[in-house]
C-alpha cells in the first residue's frame, strides 16, 4: 500500500547526506551530512523489520502476538549510539581545527597533501 515509501525516503535522505558531504565546504556541514546518512541507515534498518499490522515486540497487556521483527531494532540501537559517539568526536576535531587554523573551510583545511 505504501509502495516501499519508507525505503525510498531512506534513499533520498542518504542521497541528501551524501550530497552535503560531497559539495558542502564547511566541515560542520559535512558532519551534518554524515549524521543524515546515519539516520537514513537507521530508518532503513527499522523499516526492514516492520511487519504489516504487527505490534511492538514487548509482551504487555496488548492482545496480539503478531509482532514486528525485534532484531533490527536492537541493531539500530547500537547504530544510534555509535552515531552519537562518532558525531561527538568529529565535532571535537572540528573545534580543535578551527582553533588552530582559524577556519572551517575544507579548501583551506588542507595542510596535508601530496
Amino acid at each position: 500500500m505504501l509502495f516501499n515509501l519508507p525505503f525510498i525516503t531512506v534513499v533520498i535522505v542518504i542521497g541528501l547526506g551524501l550530497y552535503a558531504m560531497l559539495y558542502k565546504r564547511n566541515l560542520i556541514k559535512i558532519v551534518i551530512g554524515l549524521s543524515l546518512v546515519e539516520s537514513g541507515v537507521n530508518l532503513f534498518l527499522v523499516s526492514l523489520g516492520y511487519r504489516n499490522g504487527g505490534i511492538a515486540p514487548i509482551y504487555t497487556s496488548a492482545p496480539s502476538t503478531h509482532m514486528v521483527l525485534p532484531t533490527p531494532q536492537a541493531l539500530t540501537l547500537t547504530s544510534i549510539v555509535i552515531g552519537v559517539a562518532t558525531t561527538a568526536m568529529l565535532l571535537s576535531f572540528c573545534v580543535v581545527i578551527y582553533r588552530n587554523y582559524g577556519t572551517l573551510d575544507a579548501r583551506k583545511v588542507r595542510r596535508l597533501r601530496e
Binding site: 560531497l22 559539495y23 558542502k24 579548501r107 595542510r111 601530496e114
Partner: protein, 117 residues
C-alpha cells in the same frame, strides 16, 4: 615439517639457510679478495683524501645529498605523471569522499553489468 627445510613454490623451491651459507661463503671470498688489495695505504693521511685539482674538500654538511635532491632525474623524466598525481592529491575532504563514492559507483556498475554468476 622440518623448520630448516625448503619450501616449494610453483616453480621451484627456496631455502634461506642454504642461501645464507652461500652468502657467507661469498662474503668470505670477498673479504679475502679485499685483503689482497694494496696494503701500503695508511688511513688518516693525505693518501686517502680526494684530489680535487688542488682545492681542499668542501665541508661535510655541504656535500651531503639532501633527500629532496635524490632521484631528481627520475622525477624529472616522469614529470607529466607526477604532475597528474600531485593534482589529484588535493587534500580536500570532499574529494576524499568523492573518490570513495566514485569507486563505489564504478564497482556497482561493474558488478551490475558484468558481475554475477
Amino acid at each position: 615439517m622440518n623448520p630448516l627445510g625448503n619450501f616449494t613454490t610453483p616453480s621451484g623451491f627456496w631455502n634461506p639457510i642454504l642461501w645464507l651459507l652461500v652468502f657467507l661463503i661469498l662474503l668470505l671470498l670477498a673479504y679475502l679478495i679485499w685483503k689482497r688489495g694494496e696494503e701500503s695505504y695508511k688511513r688518516g693521511t693525505m693518501q686517502t683524501d680526494p684530489f680535487l685539482s688542488g682545492y681542499g674538500p668542501e665541508s661535510k654538511e655541504a656535500i651531503h645529498v639532501r633527500a629532496g635532491n635524490i632521484y631528481w632525474g627520475f622525477t624529472r623524466a616522469l614529470k607529466g605523471y607526477y604532475s597528474f598525481l600531485r593534482k589529484i592529491h588535493t587534500g580536500i575532504i570532499n574529494d576524499y569522499v568523492g573518490w570513495y563514492i566514485g569507486i563505489l559507483a564504478l564497482m556497482l556498475l561493474l558488478y551490475l553489468l558484468w558481475g554475477g554468476s
